[in-house]
Symmetry: C2
Subunit: 247 residues, 2 copies
């Protein structure tokens, strides 16, 4: 689709385990041709609207602990939110929480198409390839996406620390949420598939009957590399046990 | 995924209408590196086990009548059945109806992976791209796959002439089946999603909430180019009316 540098990266591609990790909101970078940073202020580019702070560090820790492949974005979700289909308003949002996104105001169909071609189509093709290759080899991959959420949203503090969200098949998500990780854990919080956040799972896990879960970690708990490593070490055994349980 | 010649072709890519047609069993060709034809006899290569006879002719007629894009395979379904995921036994079947497929006996994991990389992954990436681009442009495509079936299966004649099959959303399929085309028409016959035949729809329509239908035409009715053109002319108004109805 695009022959330029892709806006994603695959790590640990030849990993031994069948687990495939996705971190679609890994980055708050604005690589070329996005040097104008969509007109955002520095504090906006650092905030949760531009990415999921801490999520990539946790995902990398999980990739090591679970010997899993990891695919992650290398550009901000505000350029294209890879967890939204191209027709969703949230794919290239003109507003995120209380923030107006100047570079996303009044996007033309041509601009939406260009971003879809540059970001969405190649990322999803690469992930589909990773999963299909594992299926062809006779393994049944578990698809786990790694996200973080803001502790305060529209001024309201959130008590939940760790949310586990599922698409059609709830088994792996329930098994992960049932494990004791010492965290305030909730199923389908702070949001659920009905909020339109399960696109990645609906595209890549459900059509293949693959076990899946979307992990949501409150970002104040993973603000430093040390906290991210600690969180990965805390979650990895719970995830591995849940995968073994679901089979 | 693969840089060699793809085993699919896209026609009428810039079509004005939002309809996207798929003909995954269009071909009984065995292009390089499949010159050994999987060890099949000439009558086997001509039979319905190798392809859906007549389906491509109908699909091309529909593409013209509906001004729709069409993606179709250029290699036999016995090399890789694009309507099956890589882990399905039917993706590279060692037996099809009463026929043993010598070149598919005891396939290694490496061979399954190579065929998945060469056939399945690029075809589905291309189709996903076609659909995503239409969504980005603000149109909501209808996904229609075009198949044919054998009038006699395991020795049993089939009375149905035109089957319409759906995945999760039955609306477009029901609307097409309800139209009078003069054919013996049945919903979810001669098989249905529960037989594992709806993979294409489950991957590309259902996750995006797109209207979809799999058309199955008895192949004795479309044995010649003239019959294929007649069938396309008969079905196109029914399909267009059904799309308009479902919206």
């Amino acid at each position: 689709m695009t022959d330029s540098v892709p806006f994603y990266r695959i790590e640990n591609e030849a990993a031994a385990s069948a687990v495939v990790l996705v971190c679609e909101h890994a980055s708050n970078a604005f690589p070329p041709p996005w040097e104008d940073e969509l007109g955002l202020a520095p504090d906006q580019r650092a905030a949760h609207i531009a990415w999921d702070p801490g999520a990539l560090g946790v995902a990398r820790g999980l990739a090591r602990a679970l010997d899993a492949a990891l695919i992650h974005a290398t550009a901000s979700r505000l350029i294209y939110d890879l967890n939204r289909p191209p027709h969703a308003p949230g794919a290239m949002p003109a507003q995120s929480e209380v923030h107006r996104i100047p570079g996303n105001a009044d996007l033309s169909a041509g601009e939406r198409l260009a971003r879809t071609r540059a970001h969405y189509i190649p990322f999803h093709a690469a992930l589909a390839g990773l999963l299909s290759e594992r299926l062809a080899r006779g393994t049944r991959p578990a698809l786990i996406t790694v996200h973080s959420f803001t502790p305060v949203y529209f001024g309201q503090p959130r008590a939940v620390e760790f949310g586990v969200i599922h698409d059609a098949d709830d088994r792996l998500a329930r098994a992960i949420a049932a494990r004791d990780t010492g965290l305030n854990t909730r199923l389908n919080e702070p949001y659920s598939a009905s909020d339109g956040v399960a696109h990645m799972l609906a595209r890549h896990a459900t059509p293949f009957g693959l076990p899946h879960a979307m992990l949501e970690i409150r970002n104040d708990l993973i603000a430093t590399p040390e906290a991210q490593a600690d969180m990965a070490a805390r979650l990895a055994p719970a995830i591995q046990a849940a995968i073994n349980e679901v089979g």
